[in-house]
């Protein structure tokens, strides 16, 4: 190979390295462009610090669900039931704690409420994990079944808003500063766990290749159970935050959020096939989703009835972006220049 060819080869490899780095961190330039676009077209979205705080506060429940979904996706699985777990655990606990006429009103102790909501979320996640990891059910079918079952169970329990909840119980999600702090702490904690613990690296290994993970000695069954249990706990926390955000447990709590959670994780660079992605990217995905949501709410051009359709378009764009990203990556890999 001549010197010129050699230099060209190095330049090509460097260029591909840069492209791959950009692809892995695509969320940040996208976020910058979207924020700039919203700033120009719907400036009232960022009209003051209060509005920005409201965006971040509103991002807390969906952010926690994005974390739950990201964890499942990184492990090479996914969870369609996160919204239902959030809704069911919040509704069940609300029925136990609430003082409304149709509530069960078994106790007003908020600490029992905290314990109960996490017990429900963790238990449902654990069962998801056992069915997928041990019994070997397909994650799509298992979590779809739980989505339907727990959404139906929630509706069967109550069709009216659950009120009269203890203030300590709702305060967790009702205080913007506290809720945002919890949300950021969860991101930092999960990011740290994924990067610096054997468990976290095993999640990446499982997502990259279940067979290889098993061959290097990782107990994949237990790992899958742990992942889904954590997903259930994060979903329950999202349910608690949703309850605090509204101050009651609305009958439609948690419904439709799984799609936004998927969009947030995928836009944030979490691979749909597992093993690839950073939790910081998912944070970017959450902010993007919430900023778009807020702009839609503030835009005079988009009616409330059209928001769901726009959410679907955002999800489609996220999947198209992901698909393009994967194609570029595959082309660079096939060229062998890196």
């Amino acid at each position: 190979m001549s010197t010129t060819e050699s230099l060209l080869g190095i330049a090509s490899a460097d260029r591909d390295d840069i492209i791959l780095t950009v692809l892995d961190n695509m969320i940040w330039p996208i976020l910058a462009v979207v924020i700039l676009g919203i700033f120009l077209t719907v400036p009232q979205t960022f009209r003051n610090a209060q509005a920005i705080r409201l965006i971040l506060w509103g991002a807390v429940p969906i952010g926690l669900l994005v974390l739950a979904e990201s964890l499942c996706l990184l492990s090479g699985h996914f969870d369609l039931s996160i919204g239902s777990i959030a809704g069911f655990s919040a509704m069940f606990t609300g029925m136990v704690l609430g003082t409304c006429p149709s509530c069960w009103g078994l106790t007003t102790n908020p600490w029992i409420g905290f314990g109960l909501i996490f017990l429900i979320g963790g238990s449902v996640g654990f069962i998801n994990g056992v069915m997928i990891g041990k019994v070997g059910l397909n994650p799509f079918l298992q979590t779809l079944a739980f989505l339907i079952i727990f959404q139906g169970a929630k509706t069967a329990m109550q069709t009216q808003p659950v009120t009269g909840l203890p203030s300590t119980y709702t305060q967790v999600g009702a205080s913007p500063v506290f809720a945002i702090a919890v949300f950021l702490s969860m991101f930092l904690l999960l990011g740290f766990i994924l990067k610096y613990t054997t468990f976290g690296q095993a999640v990446y290994a499982l997502g990259s290749s279940k067979k290889s993970a098993r061959e290097v000695g990782i107990d994949t069954e237990r790992l899958i159970i742990a992942v889904y249990t954590m997903s259930g706990l994060l979903s329950a926390l999202a349910g608690l935050m949703l309850t605090g955000f509204v101050g009651v447990v609305p009958p439609l709590i948690g419904e439709g959020l799984v799609f936004q959670a998927f969009a947030g994780a995928v836009i944030g660079g979490i691979s749909l096939f597992g093993g690839r992605g950073m939790i910081t990217g998912a944070l970017g995905g959450v902010i993007l989703i919430q900023v778009v949501q807020s702009a839609l709410n503030n835009s005079p051009a988009v009616g409330a009835t059209q928001i769901q359709m726009v959410n679907g378009i955002v999800l489609l764009v996220a999947i198209l972006l992901y698909s393009t990203q994967e194609k570029i990556r595959a082309r660079i890999l096939a060229s062998g220049s890196v």
Binding site: Y196, T197, Q201
Partner: protein, 267 residues
């Protein structure tokens, strides 16, 4: 010729024993799966720092024997000796604890993760306070660099994701992972299958270097040609039995092929 009626130390070879002290000795090992006798009274020994190739056609029992040595299967009967001490393994971790590492044919690599992470997956160096320990990435990459650069003599960025590597480089990463456990014996299943000529040479050179450093190498293969050039001894399995062991310089492809496919040599 079968070794069924002979002790391993007096096993019939064409000439003198290869050099080195016995690192691994198999004595009358059999393995039965239901009514199928997969390995039948096999006895052999592998000397320290040697490259021993175990060849045979499909169904000859080489994978079963490999799995017995690596602790995946337990023999139905027979004894296994490591460094003169009788050992028995109920799982691969016990074999690993005795210094026996296995590199499987699929390499068990995680494509999305980098070389350093692949090498230390499941055994990361850690640091912390008291019982609270976290992965020490600096030490992980430093040790991975040492394995790849110093022990395997290759210049690859250890932060490169495995999906970017060639077939030969992937094989080296799998060997690197075995080295991270500081083994005395490395068993490799079909290490050069599906590799290009250059990649095969790269892997063979690496195995020679490791053997020179005192590590005992056992290669399990159905491709005699690929092991003929660099193995110190070749054991041929046929229908679960060890036909004989050969020194490559004193035999040839034709004879070994005949033994492998018919169970005997006409020469």
């Amino acid at each position: 010729m079968s070794l069924e009626e002979e002790s391993p130390t007096t096993s019939t070879t064409k000439t003198e024993q290869a050099t080195g002290t016995p690192e691994l000795r198999v004595e009358g090992i059999s393995k039965q799966f239901g009514r199928i006798l997969a390995v039948d009274e096999v006895s052999l020994e592998v000397r320290s720092g040697n490259i021993f190739a175990l060849v045979g056609d499909n169904g000859a029992g080489k994978s079963t024997l490999m799995n017995i040595l690596s602790g995946v299967h337990q023999p139905t009967k027979g004894n296994l000796y490591k460094g003169g001490e009788e050992v028995s393994f109920t799982n691969p971790s016990e074999a690993r604890a005795k210094g026996i590492e296995t590199v499987y044919q699929d390499l068990a690599l995680m494509d999305d993760l980098d070389i350093g992470t692949n090498i230390f997956m499941g055994q990361f160096p850690k640091r912390g306070i008291g019982p609270i320990k976290f992965i020490d990435w600096e030490t992980t990459y430093k040790r991975a660099e040492h394995i790849i650069a110093d022990r395997l003599g290759r210049n690859i960025d250890i932060k490169t994701e495995v999906e970017f590597l060639s077939g030969g480089q992937r094989q080296l990463v799998a060997i690197g992972r075995a080295l991270a456990f500081d083994p005395d014996v490395i068993i490799l299943d079909e290490p050069t299958s599906a590799l290009s000529v250059d990649a095969t040479r790269l892997v063979q050179d690496t195995l020679n270097t490791l053997a020179e450093s005192g590590i005992t190498i056992i290669i399990v293969s159905h491709n005699i040609e690929s092991v003929l050039t660099h193995a110190d001894r070749i054991g041929v399995l046929f229908q679960g039995s060890l036909v004989d062991t050969y020194i490559p310089s004193e035999t040839g492809l034709e004879e070994l092929n005949e033994v492998m496919t018919t169970g005997f040599s006409s020469s």
